[in-house]
Amino acid sequence: MKQQLTLLLIALCFALFGLLNSGMASTAGDPLRVVVTIPDLADIVKEIGGDRVEVASICKGRENTHAVVAKPSHLVAMSKADLFVEIGLSLETAFVPGLLEGSRNVKIQPGKPGFLNCSEGWQPLEVPTSLSRQAGDVHPHGNPHMNLDPRAGRHIAGRVLIALLALDPTSKDYFEKRNASFITRLAEAEKRWAALGATWKGSQIIEYHQEFSYFAGASGLKIAGAIETKPGIPATPNHLAELIGMMKKAGVKVIVTAIWSNNDTVARIAEATGAKVVELPNMCGGLPGTDTWIGMMDTMHKKMAEALAVAPIAK
């Protein structure tokens, strides 16, 4: 009996401590606490939110978004956030559901004003017509790498602006002014990217993972094949032999790979076909000069121009 009373006392102490620590809300006048899944979103939220937001990104620029490990700081940041921003399209399923549930932050749960899915209103590519793992690690809502589409910055900025206005309507003029400034710079950049795309239109490339479909589609590149047999499924010797044969026959001279996938297999194919390997960022911060989303897109276009022997357009 004495032992059980001791346990009850310990339980009550824990309960009291829990109650004391349950209130962690931000106060009026503080910057909005924003947690985003990838650095691209962090950059765009900062562009519009300025000093009225504090932004933390879960992924780092060089990470494979399919293999992110949740850290304590992520959980803490989520628990205190006023706004959570994700790409959506199941890009972040490896870590978002567990963090959202663990954070217990009702403000950022799906359906609440503090939850922003940037893929809403976006027309995704490669939406599977039937769902089966026979097709590999497919995403049910379509290809999730929309952040690599040169048109995505404008779409994401629009979504972020709506979310920030809903959470802090008193900063309407401030957010709209910053958004207008970002869109102006974006429009100039979009002209640069379109001009480059026109010079290489129809050029064929090979990709490692099916993550550059948006970039290729928007900039006039044609993806002739992928090194992975199916999304997330490593290449078999048979598949590689067929791919090398096809590249030689079709004259495909560029292999596009992300940082995480630039491995021995890519090098072997390049050696067998004489193709150039272009390592592209798949998020901001992945390579030098890609700290901003516009900077990342510039870098991607510049690297492609070099690989395809096209003179880059000056800024």
């Binding site: 346990l7 310990i10 824990f14 060089r62 494979n64 949740a70 959980l75 793992r133 997330g232 995480w260």
Partner: protein
């Protein structure tokens, strides 16, 4: 007159029955008692839309099969192919404040409910009340299912002191709070009707008495668990976790019953196992390379072993046998380290040693090396080689090829 009174009473009860009952009188258990929406918008209501699938739980299956070769020091060697476990899981939100799940596991011909529990989160804050049957919160490798372990068996120290699994029927309350921006501290307390290891069906009292301490226990009181753990960012790429756990059986009896005509019992026994665990995880900048190292130290206290004194050597006859309860504290530990060099391949080493609760505090140890190759996100092959040494049991070497497949939706929360 007496029969008339009875008639009136029966009539009154009959009328009251629909009022007292929890639902309509003529309903089949498990059937919805309201008309469900027809997704097509038709006004028809028939069998086709009686059970809409729109709110079905998410289901998944795990198939875990293995081929094992055992090289014993005394018994004949042997090989075996078997289905280690077929696990199936369903989970769904109950309403905004609770979600529930079940995990069933088929082992050999038996079907066991490993877990069936509700997580109630409606208290606010980070509190969770968990109710039902579930694996208790003890250390890092005790709360996971077989297919999630580093090898195909629970580490020696854990399975010796706590059993292959501890699934408790009861309640657990847990909560967490942050310390600064990069540290989280979590605690839990659980109360369960029984946390004793499961008995083997083929238990033979004449040879396995000491090992099967739990098989004949009677439980009068609740059992308890408690855990306090903190995990923190360790630099840009690392995470460090420290935890302390307790597994408390305040009172149990041990029954020795070698025959239907003879038995002995020790009553008022107590057993508490304390655990300390430390884990460090490092993730490379692309997330493809990972290194994890950890250790768990266990202190098994109280009445943690029972032996049979049998002067004439005829164990099981009950002629001159007496029970001997051991209450010397014993220590055990497990340490592991594994490295994933790309998203498909990893290698690791695990070592575990325990003091046994017997008259001489004998030692046992096990070292396991494992290589895991993922064929994709959803299937993996693992090669395990282990060496087991014991002062009292037979030494053995083991080589296992384990093949595990995940079908359907399968996810895990933050394991801490």
């Amino acid at each position: 007159m007496q029969s008339k009174v009875l008639f009136h009473a029966a009539a009154a009860l009959g009328c009251a029955a629909p009022v007292l009952a929890q639902g309509p009188v003529f309903s089949t258990p498990g059937m919805p008692t309201y008309e469900t929406q027809n997704p097509s918008g038709s006004k028809d209501s028939g069998q086709a839309d009686r059970f809409t699938s729109a709110f079905n739980p998410a289901f998944s299956f795990i198939v875990d099969a293995e081929f094992e070769y055992l090289d014993n020091s005394k018994s004949p060697d042997g090989a075996e192919a078997r289905l280690n476990v077929l696990e199936f899981m369903g989970s769904s939100w109950v309403d905004p404040s609770a979600w529930a799940y079940f995990i069933g596991a088929a082992e050999d011909e038996a079907l066991n409910i490993e877990e069936a529990a509700v997580h109630y989160i409606g208290f606010g804050g980070h509190q969770t009340l968990r109710a039902g049957r579930f694996f208790v919160d003890f250390g890092k490798q005790m709360q996971t299912h077989i297919h999630e372990l580093r090898t195909n068996v629970r580490p020696l120290a854990l399975r010796t002191y706590l059993g292959d699994e501890i699934k408790g029927d009861g309640l657990q309350w847990d909560d967490w709070t942050s310390l600064g921006n990069s540290t989280a501290v979590r605690w839990s307390i659980g109360a369960f009707s029984s946390l004793l290891p499961e008995a083997e069906e083929d238990f033979d009292a004449t040879t396995e008495v000491a090992e099967e301490l739990a098989s004949s226990k009677k439980i009068d009181d609740f059992n308890y668990t408690a855990r306090l753990t903190g995990f923190t960012d360790a630099g840009e790429s690392g995470t460090f976790q420290l935890g302390a756990s307790a597994y408390i059986i305040p009172s149990f009896d041990f029954l020795y019953e070698p025959s239907s005509t003879y038995s002995q019992q020790s009553t008022g026994l107590t057993n508490i196992v304390y655990g300390l665990d430390a884990t460090y995880g490092w993730v490379g900048d692309t997330g493809e390379q990972r290194w994890t190292s950890g250790a768990e130290l266990l202190l098994n206290t109280g009445d943690n072993g029972v032996g049979i004194n049998d002067p004439d050597g005829n164990l099981g006859t009950g002629d001159d046998e007496t029970l001997q309860v051991f209450d010397e504290s014993t220590l055990g530990y497990v340490a592991w380290s594994d490295f994933q060099w790309n998203r498909y391949n990893s290698i690791g080493l695990q070592f575990s040693a325990v003091e046994l609760a017997d008259a001489t505090q004998s030692m046992e140890s096990e070292i396991e090396a494992y290589l895991t190759h993922k064929l994709s996100e959803f299937q993996r092959v693992r090669l395990i080689v282990s060496n087991f040494e014991s002062d009292v049991n037979e030494d053995a070497m083991r080589a296992v090829v384990q093949y595990t497949v995940v079908l359907g939706a399968h996810g895990h929360g933050v394991n801490w």
